[in-house]
Symmetry: C2
Subunit: 268 residues, 2 copies
């Protein structure tokens, strides 16, 4: 990790948002608790950060209905980086704000790298997480995204129809994924400005920075098709297939780390 | 079809673009000829229009490498609406222009409804085709599209990075599919204007109208997730699953038509 030694002091905090109620899902089995590949979706997400040696701390944001289940999962698995399990709010932004407030209350430094991740994206790649951490050396904001393979149409309402307003160049159209990553001071500043705007209703943390800190470039970090958002029951068969591959990939990563650590100890 | 009697005179012409070389696919087996659910992809696409009683004519655009295979398919299946199999060009727009020229040479009227469809979207729904035909009663241009479930990011280049430029409201972001549908005079006019622009390089017919006939609203017609574009080998397993369902759905549609026709004959 020689490349990162100059930033070794800045904590890398993953905020895992697991507070959604998932109205499009089975109401009696919140989607973040659904098991794929033998493991709850939220556990996959937490482990993606838990097993990345560059991530120092994890905060999990829950709602009252899933709190005890998530606490059991965390206690059972013994994820040592999970520092806090806090209550989120009604909307996604309320959950992000609750997390930012909790980080502030816990004295996190302004230059901390904060990676905000949707728990229902269980198969985020290590390379995307590390890509965010690296991008924050150059930029104060970054987001994982994939290039759109489809032409994107921007529309407006005309009567009861949507009509096409413009067709952006395809190489400049991306689909946002998570994590979305920010230096702590930057995302706090953006949310503080947004909170003063009565029309504030974003669904995406990147947009808060783009809209309220317009001078601040947000870097694109390569995501993957496998980093899907589990939104409906129809996503579960695909998620199961990805889970099988992800389990192998993560076991391989872990093996490489163990070997690297052992080699490091032998050299000392 | 009482709603459509006032437009019964305007032909409805499907242009099936099967001229792509599919560089991301197996070069020895062009993707439009790959079989899914026991049928070539291009045959699925032609049949979607062949079996829709509101479509009057079909033009298939091919490249020299697939011409004889497509001709054999059409002869073998005996699709009676296929009037022409013409050669396309190097780019998608060249193929569209070749089709428009062929339609003009064949004396198609200015008010004909032209539905331009990518052959590699084999599972277009009847409802999307009919939605285009209906939309052209109110608008001169329409495109099948699906609402984006992901937040779309519009980017620009900053050094060797893409950075986010803006984040449009999600309800106004759609992913374009095909068919894209136009009154013949409108798409001819748009392409004629585009041809005078040395910077012309669109990848999408809708964009030609949006960019070169800016006053012309293009209506959004509901597409479907199953109307996928078969682009890489990785799409084939999904395509196979959709093919199974599509075969059943089309058989059901056909049965309803036969029954409706029989009922109509009994009433006369």
């Amino acid at each position: 990790m020689t490349d990162n030694e100059s930033h070794a002091d800045a904590p890398v905090v993953a905020v895992v948002l697991a507070a959604g109620f998932g109205t499009r899902f089975d109401p009696n089995n919140p989607k973040q608790l659904v098991s794929v590949g033998g493991k709850a979706i939220v556990a996959w997400s937490i482990e993606a950060f838990e097993t990345d040696p560059r991530v120092t701390d994890i905060v999990v944001v829950v709602n009252p209905r899933v709190r005890s289940a998530v606490e059991e999962l965390v206690d059972g698995a013994g994820y040592p980086k999970v520092r806090l399990i806090i209550d989120g709010g009604a909307e996604r932004v309320d959950s992000t704000m609750a997390a930012l407030d909790a980080l502030a209350a816990n004295g996190i430094p302004a230059d901390a790298k904060v990676l905000i991740h949707d728990a229902v994206r269980p198969f985020v790649l290590r390379s995307s997480i590390d890509g965010c951490i690296d991008a924050l050396d150059e930029y104060r904001a970054a987001t994982v995204a994939v290039a759109s393979t489809d032409t994107v149409l921007l529309t407006r309402d005309l009567g009861d129809r949507k009509v096409v307003d413009s067709v952006p160049d395809r190489p400049n159209t991306f689909r946002a994924q998570t994590p979305q990553a920010f230096r702590f001071a930057t995302i706090r500043d953006a949310y503080a400005r947004a909170a003063e705007d009565p029309d504030f209703h974003p669904t995406d943390d990147t947009r808060v920075v783009v809209d309220y800190l317009p001078g601040e470039p947000v870097a694109i970090v390569a995501g993957s098709e496998t980093n899907l958002k589990v939104t409906t029951l129809a996503d579960l068969p695909i998620a199961e297939r990805i889970a099988q591959d992800a389990a192998k990939a993560r076991a391989k990563e872990r093996m490489h780390e163990v070997l690297a650590e052992a080699a490091g100890r032998m050299r000392r």
